[in-house]
Symmetry: C2
Subunit: 135 residues, 2 copies
């Protein structure tokens, strides 16, 4: 019986006790998001940002491989980052960067596997690979 | 001691066994996202879409209250929807809509609470409320 695999992986960071001065404005979170992307093979298709008043910002990148988002609440010294990707990324490298640049160790990461490849499709892939090995 | 509360709620739908004809193109997922929003008090700030070839699409809405995203893999009859909100939404109403419009009952929802309101801030809010009640 074919083993089921998943379609995408969703990395979820919740980061607390961050200085409000680091996460109040769009120019700060744009730098964060672009640097995270530079640590990966991800491809940026488009970016959207929103400055909230008096402080706090949202940034969303539409990627060829899904999306990367950030929301900040400087008044709570909190930011939330989500990376949904259908290709592997080195999440530990991103966590190390965030811990360092935001000067906090109050960071949690959850990793969710998203979507099952149906058995039938998985079986077809397996058969195709067997055929190739017989050539 | 003040009770901790959370800053946002993240609703995560994984939906399988959906007809590929329902989720192949941007115009279909734009309709889905806009209808989901219409079931809530959420405010759309901007929208971005990407059509993949030959089929499959991504749509992301930047909301005043965080974000709403969708990614589809018609070849796997799968779509993933994320709604991150800092205000309450009726997630059951959204699930009912998705189940109905996509003609599938293979739908799962995860709900994550995101971010803690620090105790100090929570305590200040409590004190402020007490002061007001004494006026």
């Amino acid at each position: 019986m074919a083993r089921l695999s998943t379609i995408g992986t969703h990395y979820i960071w919740d980061i607390q006790r961050v200085s409000a001065h680091e996460i109040s404005y769009v120019f700060e979170i744009r730098t964060l998001l672009r640097h995270i992307c530079s640590l990966t093979p991800l491809t940026i298709e488009s970016e959207s940002y929103k400055q909230f008043q008096p402080v706090g910002a949202t940034g969303i990148m539409l990627l060829s491989e899904s999306h990367l988002s950030i929301h900040t609440w400087p008044e709570h010294e909190f930011l939330a980052i989500d990376l949904f990707s259908c290709i592997p990324v080195d999440h530990q490298r991103i966590t190390d960067y965030l811990t360092s640049v935001l000067s906090t160790d109050d960071i949690t990461i959850k990793i969710l596997e998203r979507g099952r490849v149906p058995e039938q499709v998985q079986a077809e892939i397996t058969i195709e690979k067997q055929d190739q090995s017989m050539m």
